[in-house]
Amino acid sequence: MSVEAAKMIGAGLACIALVGAGAGIGNVFGSYLQGALRNPGAAAGQTTNLLLGFALCEATGLFGLVIALLILFAF
């Protein structure tokens, strides 16, 4: 297998990180909705935590993207 082909496959494999990010973000918003529907009064005060959880979760998926870019362009 040529190095070029291996790079392409590696970059594609790095995108598997998005599985975890997708599941995590879904969990963040799902749990928020669940809590918000049970106690709508407390929902508004938790939007900061919601967005924070979303951002922290999303970052892990984006690391996968960075690895893919590194494989494709840096080596």
Partner: protein
Amino acid sequence: MQINPMEQFRVEPILPLHIAGYDVSFTNQALVMCVVVAAISIFMVIASTSRKLVPGRMQSMAELSYEFVGNMIHSAAGEEGLKFFPLVFTIFFFVLFANVVGLIPGVFTVTSQIAVTFALAMLVILTVLVTGFARHGFGFLKLFVPKAPFVLLLLLVPIEVISFLTRPISLSVRLFANMLAGHTMLKVFAGFVIALGGAGGILSVLSIAPMLLIIAITALEMLVALLQAYVFAILTCIYLSEALHLHDHH
């Protein structure tokens, strides 16, 4: 017809300039950063020149943004965090304006460069370190030692240290990768429009579909631009809060 979706991120010198072997050219990136800073300054100066008791539109916008950032710092870092209002306000508005200006077609996106976002993140982390050591001395290192049994500490202290050390990376990569991914996606769909439009016949009519999708994605990118600026600012507040109060804040 082939378009390269990464072409838009190329930094091109506008005024080539070399001093003592270093390339210090004025680039398209520097130009957009100047435009961003000028836009923020003009907005704030116009909003605050004719101050009235009953604010007009511009003054309302400035007051709302001031209160928004003020509340954000107060809720995340408490009363003492308000000392860092200028820092957080500047970072929030620089990132926000850079993101939004970058959405204008053809304009270079400053925050899609890791150099820019990493510089911003290092600014935040160094501020946190200086504040923490100035305030607590070497007691700041207690940040890495949570209240736990000794056996667990063997595991927890390395985790805390690693999580602290990865903060500048995660802070900068989050913003950079979001902008990069969003703008790449827009260009990829734009490539679909061109390819379909040039294909002729029924395919040319179909090119309206990716076009509509681009409009929807641009709206989504607008949301991402705001959200990422907010996330960057709120994380800055939280890191500063840890430096000010260590673990005993909550």
